[in-house]
Amino acid sequence: MRFERLCRWPALAVLAVLFVAPMGIIAAYSLLTRGAYGGVELPWTLDNYIRLCDPLYGAILLRSLWIAAVSTALCLILGYPLAFFISRSGRRKHFYLFLVILPFWSSFLIRTYAWMFLLRDTGLFNTVLLALGWIREPLPLLYNDAAVILGLVYGFLPFMVLPLFATLERMDRTLLEAAADLGARPLESFRRITLPLSFPGIRAGAILVFIPCLGAYLTPDLLGGGKSVMVANLVQTQFTAARDWPFGAAVSLTLMAIVMLLLFGAAKKSSEDLL
């Protein structure tokens, strides 16, 4: 028994020192004041959190929530039919799944850059459209909210497809056969049986997409330029250019708090499902 108990201590030690402790320090810093040369100093204060209520920062937070929500919704709309397709594809399942997983693992940064390459003023889309004579000037496809949403959907679609697939695959097909036997048309069966039964998968996928979208840094940075500032960008600025660590810490903690609230709510809901 002792070996079994000891096994988890390396991981716990790493997490304690490199995850929990740093979080604690961030929490402490969020309550301190900005130092003259960067860093922090006393006195303790709640100013940083109060500053968050400023409409300027509130706007950033709201934009982040909105972009994350839209991205999640799009992922759901785009991803559900794909997950459905894969769950019905018989022996090719693993192959189709792999085709979804593969892009996700092969460098998020480069994939984001790929969209820069496509959407720039001198990028592929504009070059082609100009060459075809459909437009006279390059379209500003990059550096706006839409580009960020596009990048996020592109990046996190697999996170929606996988849990959806898992739920759909596990579903008992004979239920649909029974429904057909009782007179329901395919669309009806889908609406009244398949869809409701896939809610747990939808919930899981939504959480797995919304949270990374909310805290996204690279996508709004590269695809949004300075025009589409999200929470993560705000935090990063505080720790580099603006040198306001306490404020950055406060924003980080707020983001973390929202994430944990969402996770807690999701956990509660899924355990309610089981009861």
Binding site: R8, L15, L18, F85, M256
Partner: protein, 252 residues
């Protein structure tokens, strides 16, 4: 209906794969403009000759290797511990590291290291990057290994104990050989995650520990650069191959 669904799936797959394919195609373009002017390996040669890229790539490989070795060992043990006795605390903490926004992890580690290094006078460098990578990789490893452990027959370790083997012997002689493919798959995944990381790495890297993603980011930020297309294609192909291998091992 099935036809329409298949067509739709094809479109989504195109959406997922075309952007990278375009990058790959244009990496062989002899011109630096977005107009095909002929096949050429120019940009690959230029990228290979770029000292900054070469050094950054080397750093990424070293950091990736070291952090993978550590995180795979720690993560495998953690998964084994979780398999034997459920620990909501450990499982929860691991999942939390997976879902915490990278900026928050990065910023907190930066602040932690700065605070820690006041006394010994240490600096940010390769070691801090390795530490950071280990932190978020453990959860990936644990998830993959735990999934495989759950398919294992629990009576095998009981039999080993019954025959005289103390628990750690049972682990190394019976369990580990049986989950070896999963451990390797997890290691490949951990390497991929470490190699590609930008956000956390950029916050805790020192002056002399630039990684490949950091260089790629800097170039991308400045605008288009055909060398970047070449580097991107190489990286994506290499990581893709690792992921393919990892998937095969997991199915084994």
């Amino acid at each position: 209906m099935k036809r329409a669904l298949g067509l739709y799936a094809a479109c989504v797959y195109a959406f997922l794969h075309v952007p990278l394919a375009v990058l790959a195609v244009f990496s062989f373009n002899s011109s630096r403009f977005t107009r095909w002017e002929g096949f050429s390996l120019n940009w690959y040669r230029a990228a290979a000759a770029n000292p900054q890229l070469a050094e950054a790539a080397w750093n990424s490989l070293v950091i990736g290797f070291v952090s993978t070795v550590i995180s795979t060992s720690v993560g495998t043990l953690a998964a084994y511990g979780l398999w034997k006795r459920r620990s909501r605390f450990l499982a929860g903490s691991l999942y939390l590291t997976l879902l915490t926004p990278e900026i928050v992890t990065g910023v907190s580690l930066l602040v932690f290291f700065q605070w820690l290094f006041r006394v010994p006078g240490l600096q940010l460098g390769m070691h801090t990057v390795v530490a950071a990578h280990v932190t978020f990789s453990i959860a990936f490893v644990a998830v993959v290994v735990l999934a495989r452990l759950r398919t294992l027959d629990a009576t095998l370790e009981e039999a080993a104990m019954d025959l005289g083997a103390p628990p750690w012997q049972g682990f190394f002689r019976v369990t580990v050989p049986l989950i070896r493919p999963a451990i390797v798959a997890a290691a490949l995944l951990a390497f991929t995650v470490s190699f590609d990381d930008y956000v956390i790495t950029s916050m805790v890297a020192g002056v002399d520990s630039e990684t490949l993603p950091m260089v790629i980011y800097a170039i991308a930020r400045r605008g288009a650069n055909p060398e970047l297309n070449a580097v991107s294609t190489i990286v994506v192909t290499a990581l893709g191959a690792l992921v393919l291998l990892s998937e095969r091992l997991r199915q084994a």
